[in-house]
């Protein structure tokens, strides 16, 4: 049960960061925390003996897939952040209002 409390707590810390941070890089860092804690919960539940995955190695394989997806997300996200910083000279989400209706 401590596994669930730690990982879900970490996920909610990351969620709080996404909701309250005002800088794009800091928001991306909080998203990384959410992704990492979700993988942690999956592996932790499997290690505790929960019946996950149809075949052996499925949990680890899913974990590797999540890491690959997170790396891809970080690469595209940071490229967009750098592009935004070049164009608008800021990464504060409050000041990026050009497409706001």
């Amino acid at each position: 049960m401590s596994v669930v409390i730690i990982t879900v707590g970490l996920f909610c810390i990351g969620l709080y960061g996404v909701l309250t941070r005002r800088d794009l890089v800091a928001i991306l860092a909080s998203v990384e925390i959410m992704l990492g804690s979700a993988t942690l919960l999956l592996v932790g539940l499997a290690a505790a003996g929960a019946p996950l995955g149809a075949h052996e190695g499925a949990v680890e394989a899913t974990g590797v897939m999540v890491i690959v997806l997170a790396a891809a997300e970080a690469a595209v996200g940071l490229a967009l952040v750098i592009s935004v910083a070049r164009r608008f000279k800021t990464t504060r989400v409050d000041e990026l209002t050009e497409v706001k209706g």
Binding site: L10, C12, A29, A47, G49, M65, I82
Partner: protein
């Protein structure tokens, strides 16, 4: 108190402290260090549970790749003459309510999913992982490769467009 539970507690404390530092730090460098501590603790958890390969991949990809990429982005974006800038947050009751409410909901709904048995760890090793990737999860594996190629092209398109 056994050695295993001490290791678990230390990893948990490092992970939570790193997460809190990442979310609350006002200094960019402290945020990056907090994220590094969190990712390191996650890799430690993987090794602790017996998913050694996953721990090594986490170390390589996250700490060697994503964290360095993030520090590079911070260095490129936050260039100001007056020292390192302060990261602002807008703390309010609604964000605390959403995060706390989600914590309560997920923990209570997952209570039944956690088996009462003692930690047995992940029994499968690298051989089972390879079998999974070249067998039932082959499509995932191939899609991962396609995704990484698409990401590579996308990053070049996003960043290389206005260089002329």
């Amino acid at each position: 108190m056994s050695l295993a539970s001490i290791v678990f507690a230390v990893l948990g404390v490092v992970a939570v402290a790193g997460g809190i530092t990442t979310v609350f730090a006002r200094d960019v460098t402290r945020m990056a260090i907090g994220l590094g501590a969190f990712l390191l603790a996650v890799a430690g958890f993987f090794v602790y549970w017996g998913a050694t390969f996953l721990g090594v991949v986490q170390l390589f990809v996250y700490i060697g790749g994503v964290l360095v990429l993030m520090i590079f982005a911070i260095m490129l974006v936050h260039r100001s003459p007056e020292g390192s800038p302060e990261l602002e947050s807008r703390h309010d009751v609604a964000a605390i309510a959403v995060a706390g409410g989600l914590f309560f909901l997920v923990v209570t709904s997952l209570r039944g999913a956690v088996p009462d048995s003692v930690d047995q760890g992940i029994s499968s090793g690298t051989a089972e992982l390879t079998d999974a990737f070249l067998g039932p999860m082959l499509t995932h594996f191939e899609m991962g490769g396609v995704l990484l190629l698409a990401v590579l092209v996308a990053v070049v398109v996003i960043l290389g467009g206005d260089e002329r």
